[in-house]
Amino acid sequence: MAFKSSLKELLTFQAPVEKTGEQETPPGQPGQKEKKEQPEERKRNKKEPELIPLSSSPEKPSRVPKNRFRRPVRAAAWPKVHAPKTKNETTQKKIAASLKVNITRLKEIFHLPQNRDIVFRDFSIGTNPPVTAALIFVDGLTDRNLQNSHVLEPLMLLSRLRLDPGPTLLETVMTRLLPGNQAETTDDLNTVVDAILDGSTAILIDFCPKAIFVETKGWEHRTVSQPTAELVIRGPQEGFTETLRVNTALIRRSLHSPDLVTEFIKVGRLNRLNCAVMYVKGLTDPKLAGEVKNRLSHLATDYVGESGVLEQFIEDNTFGFVPQILTTERPDRVVAGLTEGQAALLLEGNPFALLVPATFFTLFHTAEDAYIRWPYGTILRFIRLFGFFMAIFLPGIYIAIIGYHHEMIPTDLLMSIAAARENVPFPSVVELVVMEIIFELIREAGIRIPGLIGPTLSIVGALILGQAAVAANIISPILIIVVAITAIGSFAVPNYILTFSVRLLQFIYIFLGAVFGVWGLVVGVYIQLLLLAGIKSFGVPFLAPLATIKQATADVLIRGPVWKQEERPGFLKPQRKQRQPKVSRKWLHQPKKGSSNAPGK
């Protein structure tokens, strides 16, 4: 039966000649999607035959004059209008029964004589009679020992053993000859191509219209090590690595729940990276998970290289000052987010996970807050918030007070400021801005500086800029203090991306303070709060649960005791609101042994 059908397919197959997509797909080709699209395409064929390949995706918007409003496209119609049309996807192809044909087609797809990465290994399966087969894989992505011992050896040598033959050769191979733990069959050529690029080994067998791909991933990668930016003292010391599967395993390892779902969506039309969307079914708001998947699958760009790029593609407010997605390299942070009702995104080849939705206050949380007892966690959070406000406002407040509100400075301090300033030739504003810029320079150069000459920078920065500039009366010493506190404050902000917005905003507040005084600062804060309140991250107001007051337990500004956090944050709309019952420490209410009265009563 199988042979017959494969022969039929071989007969109906036509050699792939399309390169530009000009050739008409022959009618009656298999593939249901194509069939549906056929009538439309035919109609267009008649009207404007030259424009078939381009107009097959109706790119009407380009013709609409600029000034006119575009009619919004319905969400359901969006994929039709903006569906990514690449060569691989427009023409879905089936695997032919002939090995030769398949190999020519694959070689064509992989541009073979030039492309030296793809290995085609012809061999024959040692059945009687022998059947020719081929192994196709990307050199370097696969584990060669595994391929030799678990793929080639059983197929070439062990197949001589007398075995009960299965219904088809393919099934015999699948069930008896491949000891690999993951092996799948497919009849779709694109799937095979994707699998090969993922690091699997594809096996094509003559007369079989299906391909087998065995999981043989084995490329060089970094092992799990400490996170670089989010270090904690107390808590797990593991960070994500560049391998997606390791990362998902790290998450699943501390969330043993069958409800944890990992979905894969390919992003980037050219680089086609796997992006894992993780959420807890029955807990995460299904609308949230749906929205995340929707945004990912409707991303029409050729290259998404880093989760930072992905973040910029899927965030709501692209001009906002703050990150609206939480980036973390700690699996425990992701797990905590997942159990609260957030969804996580992990991109292949990337040690940073994205947690959505993020709110302003979660940017100040660290994993350690929950691991230490609640008073300490609360104090740490306040210190961080203080550092954040210092970093943003201190230079602005300094310049406003120095310039306009001399009565606010204690007399002694004023005198020492005035005395220090007397020999400084520049206005305070220039002084401050120059110092801030120089500090930014030191910070930027510090990242680039090679490790060996790193200490030089600190000597240059601290001694020459600090000590010498003051001694030379170029800047006043109090200004060094201001700049230093600002710098330290910005380093206390736990979210790396938020520090950038702090550094930027600081200059805006310097301007406001210098031009308008404290009044300007007040106006600035007001506008900034308005802007922040207007932002939404995946449907959640950014200042939740404070602006648009939502139900939340004591884990926003302060970190309440763990046993008191009975409910999940309401703004995430989790399906299970209760995290723990009112009495989570049930051992308190156990009846005592020997006495009849329970202590609770």
Binding site: Y404, H406, E407, A419, R421, W519
Partner: protein, 418 residues
């Protein structure tokens, strides 16, 4: 386009307001003390003591930075001008001053007694209206000319006259020989006719009077006016006693001890050290730390014979030193001492009230505020005319002191003998 234009207009709007007075700290001359004297040719002689930042705060910096300052500059300089009004005088200062004079850090306003006796309302209101002036500034009355006081005044421990003033005038909290005198309170009392304002009394150190009025071979440390106390060394300035005002005119002075009672009656006293002759042996003395037990209870009633004022002062005391060998820790002796103290303080309070009634006719204690309930409406209150009524009032004073602690010695007599 329209949106961008609107945004542009909004930003322009922002620039229409704001402070627009950016001024570096080294472009202003901060006046620390302002002295007001009666002028000879013009209305007013204004003396401004201006801080010199390099001499005041920049000492350490100058050495560290090797700056050009070279040697310690004087911390302050004083400029005197004769002018029509305070602000006119400030304007005139700029004829010799390169920086703009600023009142933002003004700590003390010194008014000479001569000017104060003339009335200071005209000068005070000028300052109060001016935006740089702060009402937390201290108001003091100088017994001599303010100009001389400011020029000769040189604090020894402090470089900064502002700090000196703050600490000096803060001694009210634990000594009580000066009243609590910020301009704000002075002005509040000035506006009301139910209470009369007071100010601190200050003077350069003078020779103590030849014959110290001694009562029973001892003199009390509070019986002096500023400038007369038997002190040698220290700062060449003294702060003791009260200048009593009737409205804006100075009408009299109180010495340190009387000021203490005034502080008690107005509830300003936090604690003080009181030394009295030992009731058993007046050669020796007993020192007590006195605190307010509760705010003094004042009551005013009106009868045919005139108003009656009732005062009840509750004090909390602690014996901290005795010279005689009498054990005041024993209950019998203790109540004896309490009795004696009550008698003494009652007498002093009554004397003080009588003094203000007879000599000054100024209700500086705020009895008038307690008399307001006697009438229901404002016209009736005005008709009642409390300032006129106060000198006729009869007073009843009760002082109750509770001695609760006896210092650090268990047995007060060191030798053990009773």
């Amino acid at each position: 386009m329209k949106r961008k234009f609107c945004l542009f207009l909004l930003i322009c709007l922002l620039f229409q307001t704001g402070c627009w007075g950016f001024r570096e700290v080294d472009e202003e001359a901060f006046i620390m003390i302002l002295g007001l004297d009666k002028g000879k040719e013009n209305l007013l002689v204004l003396t401004a003591q201006i801080a010199v930042p390099r001499g005041m705060g920049g000492g350490g910096m100058g050495q560290g930075g090797g700056s050009t300052s070279g040697g310690q500059a004087k911390p302050t300089m004083a400029i005197t001008v004769e002018c029509r009004s305070i602000l006119a005088g400030l304007n005139m200062l700029n004829a010799t001053l390169e920086r703009k004079p600023s009142l933002a850090h003004l700590k003390v306003v010194v008014v000479s007694e001569e000017l104060a006796r003339q009335g200071i309302k005209a000068y005070l209101t000028q300052l109060l209206r001016y935006f740089e002036f702060r009402r937390s500034t201290f108001l003091v009355v100088s017994r001599g000319p303010a100009q001389k006081l400011i020029k000769q005044f040189q604090p020894i421990m402090e470089n900064n006259p502002a700090k000196f003033a703050e600490l000096f005038m803060g001694s009210q909290h634990y000594v009580g020989f000066i009243p609590f005198g910020q301009v704000h309170h002075f002005y509040n009392d000035l506006r009301s006719n139910a209470v009369q304002p007071v100010a601190m009394l200050v003077s350069l150190k003078e020779k103590p009077p030849e014959n110290i009025p001694a009562e029973e071979e001892q003199f009390s440390e509070g019986q002096f006016y500023a400038g007369q106390s038997p002190l040698k060394g220290g700062n060449n300035i003294e702060l003791m006693g009260t200048a009593v005002f009737y409205q804006d005119r100075m009408v009299g002075v109180l010495n340190g001890e009387e000021t203490l009672i005034l502080n008690l009656l107005r509830g300003w006293l936090k604690q003080t050290l009181l030394t009295i002759p030992d009731p058993a042996n007046p050669k020796y003395s007993i020192s007590l730390r006195i605190k307010m037990e509760r705010k003094p209870k004042l009551k005013v009633t009106l009868s045919r014979g005139g108003p009656k004022i009732y005062v009840r002062i509750s004090l909390d005391g602690e014996i901290i030193s005795t010279q005689s060998s009498i054990n005041y820790g024993s209950p019998a002796k203790l109540s004896l001492l309490e009795e004696e103290l009550n008698k003494l303080l009652t007498e002093k309070t009554q004397n003080l009230i009588a003094k203000t009634q007879d000599e000054m006719q100024a209700d500086i204690f705020g009895f008038g505020n307690k008399a307001r309930h006697l009438v229901a409406t404002w016209p009736k209150w005005q008709k009642l005319n409390w300032p006129e009524l106060f000198p006729q009032a009869q007073t009843g004073v009760i002082v109750k002191i509770h001695l609760r602690r006896f210092g650090l010695l268990r047995n007060i007599n060191p030798t053990g003998a009773p």
